[in-house]
Amino acid sequence: MAEILGGVFTSHVPAIGGAIAKGLQKDDYWRPFFDGFPAISEWLSEKKPDIAVVFYNDHGLNFFLDKMPTFAVGAAPQYDNADEGWGLPVCHSLKGAPEFSWHLIEHLVGADFDITTCQKMLVDHAVMVPFQLLWPDAKEWPVRVVPIAINTVQHPLPSPSRCLALGHAVHDAIEEWEGDERVVVVGTGGLSHQLDGERAGFLNKDYDKFCLDSLGPSPEALIKDTSLDIIEKAGSQGIEILNWIAARGAVGGRVVEKSRNYHIPISNTAAASLLLERV
């Protein structure tokens, strides 16, 4: 039976990828953010996960408005990164875990999740920035991956409670898997930020703290809000917390917080990282 090691949660702001490309990790602006990661990287190199299930949102690389899925699950043998238009270096590809993916897909559809199944899927900075943060010195990515994309772009968005339920179903599927792989769950995006409109630059430390405090012990507290409530509290792109909520559901059970970091600002964003180990 597969083992779920815990959950890693991190912002995925593209500018972080730029800072990594330029080697700015120790600069004054960046250091307080990058300081959150050595503890997580050490935990990962100690726990040695085989598979990462990554909840993220696509920002217009793989999906467009012609076919916008609420939930999309990767089933590819390999996931390529690609040019997103702003000159971030293209990262090397990720190895998929297609048998494991199809097991999740069978379980999810069997549990009435109406997912879109993707045998080909480009993954954007929302996957690649976290991978660079979690495995900074990797010559080759040390895990295989199942990307799960949640629509945070076009309303109606899935509700926070539906996202948590998706996570729970993924949890059950992982627990049912007969292989002995060690699985880490990753949730990317957030925390509070807003890129668009007269409210651009909006941040909300109180709400972010509530999220960081609640995610481990009481994720149900986060799903009392609607998606629009969250946008009001966390900004239009703060809704990326949906990825964290789903990832928390996939970790399941009880967790202990092993690491936390919160820093304002990275670009327009209140950036954070969090490591929850399963107990």
Partner: protein
Amino acid sequence: MHAEKHAIPGTTPFDGDMARRGYELNAMCYSFNDAENRKAFLEDEDAYCDKFNLTEEQRRAVAARDVLAMIAAGGNIYYLAKLAGIFGLSVQDLGAQQTGMSVDDFKAKLLAEGMEA
């Protein structure tokens, strides 16, 4: 025809109304994932906007590099960011423009939020 919308100040949720209005503009911006398309836009902006059937409102907003006007015309910030990238503009530049601040002031405001207790 709609239930009362949940209004959020300074924020335009990208819903069906906006997604319909902005389809062509967002389709053009989505094409900018491809370096050749970015080049084609820079070489002949008008022809490129024609190719994607931008509305007059959208063309004007693009010509004026006016982000709030692009959003009003249905642009979604994730796609618009790819257009902004062509001009070397970051999301902080966009934030400054939309809030009517200088870029330095916008950045300073964000830094100040980080300093607060």
